[in-house]
Amino acid sequence: MTSEQPACHKCELSLISHLFCFNCKKLQPFDDQIGLFEVMGIPIDYEINSEQLEEYYQRLSLELHPDFFEVAPKEEKRLSEKASVILNTAYNTLREPSSRAGYLLCLFTNDHKQNERSLPEGFLQEMFFLQESLDELLESSDSITLEKMKEELGTRHKEIEFSYAPLFKKFKEFPGNFNILQQLQTHLNAERYLRRLLERIPSADHILT
């Protein structure tokens, strides 16, 4: 799936980011529905070129800096502010595996009804149990067990993140197979619970004994 290549409304050269023309340095008109991949100027795909994302973000941040629009007409100034906001949203969403996967899932499922609450069997019970265990460990300041728990959960979290790419690849081969998207949804749901747990575990030097 590739994004269409629109042209700059001024110099008519192909645009990379739909927000801004690098050639003539003109801010492009855009609406609230603009896609985040289009904002960054990268192909719509789970696999991204991180360096390219980074590079475009840096360049666009610079070009859209408020200082450059200080004396611009009111409408253009307002548009540049909106552009900065959507640029940051796009960058933050796409640079992180789970938010990028979640965003793509939204694009692909569109109107299709999915079970949004789906989780692996017994997962919720396990999360509850782990949260309770965490309470006890924090209470007793058991830094060794806490560190071990953090490591194990960290590994699980990474495993979930690694599961996205093959699923998206499979979906490319079998588009319309919503079973694959349902699996992705399940993984993303699980990820969020794990992330909440991990956020509660302090780093070793923060565990007071």
């Binding site: 609450r117 509850f128 992330r195 909440r196």
Partner: protein, 128 residues
């Protein structure tokens, strides 16, 4: 984020935190979660089998203040109610009572789901 007085009260001094014996035939356990934020909520009810009245309720919630307050309120509300009455508790009532802002409405939905899950669990175990 401004929390209402009631939410703060429930958060600082939550009512009915704890557990009931899930193996007890008169206990129903509901475990629900909100994937949007990773909140996990467990709500348990103790039912008088003769009158079908909920005589005790306990909860344990891992989540934000609004989630804790919603489940705390839920346990307060179900106590003394019949199962059918408890089943008809709406999340909108919780939203109103706690003055929950739009971003926290899902916490009240979770609490409503927890009540229903506990009742369903109780009923299914009665059938065994």
């Amino acid at each position: 984020m401004a929390y209402s007085e009631k939410v703060i009260d429930h958060y600082k001094d939550p009512k009915n935190v704890g557990s009931l014996d899930k193996k007890d035939a008169n206990v129903g356990t509901g475990l629900v979660g909100a994937p949007e934020c990773g909140d996990v909520m467990k709500l348990q009810i103790q039912v008088n089998p003769e009158t079908n009245e909920i005589v005790d309720a306990k909860f344990k919630t891992f989540g934000c203040g609004s989630a804790i307050a919603s489940s705390s309120l839920a346990t307060e509300w179900v106590k003394g109610k019949s199962i059918d009455q408890a089943m008809s508790i709406q999340n909108t009532q919780i939203v109103e009572e706690l003055s929950l802002p739009p971003v926290k409405i899902h916490c009240s939905v979770l609490a409503e789901d927890a009540i229903k899950a506990a009742i369903v669990d109780y009923k299914s175990r009665r059938e065994d």
